[in-house]
Symmetry: D2
Subunit: 260 residues, 4 copies
């Protein structure tokens, strides 16, 4: 008897098929209908939704995918550089080591905001009241509000503001984006000061309005950051920093025990 | 005394800087000059080369990045789906588990071809002679020729042919692409049959012509496949296949030892 | 201004120090006091707690570390085999791809049980009442109870029963292990049938009694499974199964779209 | 048509089988014959070789597995700590991020020495001559000799000397270990100074003498270091250093471009 069982209907896939002469992705011939005709971003959209994006949808996807690529010597960038130093022949490992840090604390936090937005939407006309209730509850429980605040950016996270603007202009902003603004107002009122909407909060609202499954939202941050990490690994070739950073850490964190 | 030493000039980075109100990437303001103005692909180019791509360069980068996204239920896609099943709250781990398979045997093989191309270029007018010599040497040593042949596609790898066409039309094809064709002719002559240039061989030649450092070539396959893996993880939400595949494996690989 | 700041007291480490002639781990000379004198398991204990384990503590650590090594062609084992097939020159990637599946759904679930045990302990004499209350609450919320039930093993998970026995005999079983048994009785009463304590539930209780920080409990499953994965990768050398499993998946999951 | 084909005889496995009441590993009942009776190390040996180790074999395996656990704030330890900071709820990702650095440059280099040892063994009585020839060839080609030299340890790598001693005392040292000493003499003669045998060189020789497949040698470093990384992640709970290291890197690597 097995942990899992082969039973019921066999699963199917709509993503991709290849034969001797062609590769089909979501019913499009890769060589003849995608390569040279569609951008990387448009093809990502196609693979997720099964249809090509409109211009506005492409523009927003691009804005999301560039917004989290870089933030300097982040923990993810340091990890990718260090692992590239140790395993120079497996760049896939270096990129993997970096994206593993697109987690629940930095960068990978977009899915946290969405349930609040859904509660505000469900409250209908009482959205603002619901938002205040939610924020007060979090405040009383001393819990952080996902999607708000940034260690570095103030009074606004410039990426969040710009993404919301592009989403409006592109016609993809919908109820989740509206609810995010309602929530933002409740945050400012409740805390008596302005906390910025951060970029992951904005991405969560905008992509949910576009129909992205909340369960995969963090994946956009992963793709975005993976591209940024490739640039860091590339820069290591001409401006190596990883060994220096490693030495800084070794020097900076003193050993307190027996030395001989 | 330390494994590494903090000495000499401190390293620098040209990639990214953030302050309270802005993020600068390669001297461009992320919110105002990149988001809404540049595609994901163009921004990847900017981060690697420090300048914006021309239209032809963008088009070729896009073609490369879509060409390796998908090939159905590949080992990488299966791994990503299985790990998403086990660790549904850390999608970064599922994508990492898949890209770790963009290695030396499948998909991540573009850097292998480049040294041969460089030897052919260095031979000048005797390029075809050099190419025959290299292929004969590999054949005698019973070594595989990186960049040629594909388990599924024949007589051509449709993605390779299309990429070479786009590179020519976009004006980015240069000596490495030319050398790949010389090498291809030597392959056919030496083996007495046609072996297709595969997509990783074509990517290696074209990206090297564009100035990409051979040490990071495989990174393009990693990014490309990472995007494809996100679509597989997304499909698991509505058409779960991972548990079924796991059961197929458990049933299909019999245990031969003691059972009680 | 930076995402993070170098301020306050520099951190320190008690783990390890190396000079030209020696490596010290937790104040013990690696070459002269650890190698040849202490087992791998004892050294793991030393590094976590800063002191050598007693015989009972060693025995329980060993029992924990062997208990999750293997369960056949699990999703983790399949991933590790597939990635080893794709990236044969980076075994670190294959092991990483497997352990990334030691997550919240299988194998990596020991930390979930501990908060319930702590509530039961805090209830003092009213432990059984508290346990019933907790189980009823979870049942009403249709939430799973971490640490109970197994897809394959019944009426008991043999590893859990054996681990609890070893913990008792070794004198390390304490209040968390006792609370687990109280919780188990509440589970059976509330559901009107016997649900087995599973191995991760037992590990959570026993290791917490030994003073392991709940935040790192899952790490024991990671180490244990990593060792098992090495055996799978080793078996691939003489009995390759990965390509076959990959083919089973490709054949078993039909593509439903355009094929030409 | 598929990338891979389900054809020929189905593969089999000798590793593990589970049913309702038992788990069998290499024909041994996990709960009754392994847990409480065999150490983690002995069980690793059992899973790799299909038989229980003798006392000497256990001792050597233990010595190998403790020898690479720790070397302070290594690149791998920094990565694991940083990723644990970013993704505190997926410790599997933090350990994976660290072990991905057990690669071709540090720690994961044991397989490089073995082919040289095999050539020396094959030369029979002319082993010393063969060794000199190999070393001279490497020196002329300005290639590094895997298994010799260490950035920190001199005149000897204490772990290597101790491991060789334990291997001799335990009766497992054989032709590969002997060939390593022959190679060492050739190195000293050819370079006119003493280069130490490093720990990965010693591990490569000793484990090959024990019958470990060279293709999986690096896996021992991965397991060993994984255990060390768990101790680092554990120490982060009480002595956090990751955010400080991240800030050191951000401060230490200056951005040279536009800032406003």
């Amino acid at each position: 008897m097995a942990l899992m069982k082969v039973e019921g209907k066999a699963p199917t896939t709509e993503l991709c098929y290849g034969n001797e002469t062609s590769v089909f992705m979501r019913d499009h011939d890769l060589a003849n209908e995608i390569m040279g005709h569609m951008s990387f971003t448009q093809t990502i959209y196609l693979m997720l939704f099964g249809r090509k994006p409109g211009d506005g949808e492409s523009k927003v996807f691009d804005a999301v995918l560039v917004s989290l690529m870089e933030h300097g010597l982040t923990p993810q960038a340091i990890s990718a550089r260090l692992i590239a130093l140790c395993s120079p022949d497996s760049i896939q490992g270096a990129i993997a080591a970096g994206i593993l840090g697109v987690g629940s604390r930095f960068a990978g936090t977009m899915e946290g905001t969405v349930p609040y937005l859904k509660e505000i939407i469900a409250a209908g006309d009482n959205g603002p009241g619901k938002a205040r209730e939610l924020v007060k509850g979090l405040r009383a429980a001393k819990k952080a509000l996902p999607g708000f605040g940034h260690a570095q950016h103030k009074p606004e996270d410039p990426r969040a503001q710009r993404l919301l603007e592009i989403a409006r202009e592109s016609g993809v902003a919908g109820p989740h984006t509206a609810a995010l603004l309602v929530l933002s107002q409740a945050v400012d009122e409740t805390f008596g000061k302005h906390l910025p909407i951060n970029v992951t909060g904005a991405i969560g609202a905008v992509l949910t309005d576009m129909g992205v499954n909340p369960a995969i939202l963090r994946g956009f941050a992963v793709l975005s950051r993976a591209a940024g990490l490739l640039a860091h690994i590339n820069e290591e070739q001409s401006r190596p920093a990883a060994a220096y950073i490693s030495a800084l850490a070794e020097d900076g964190v003193a050993y307190t025990g027996r030395k001989g």
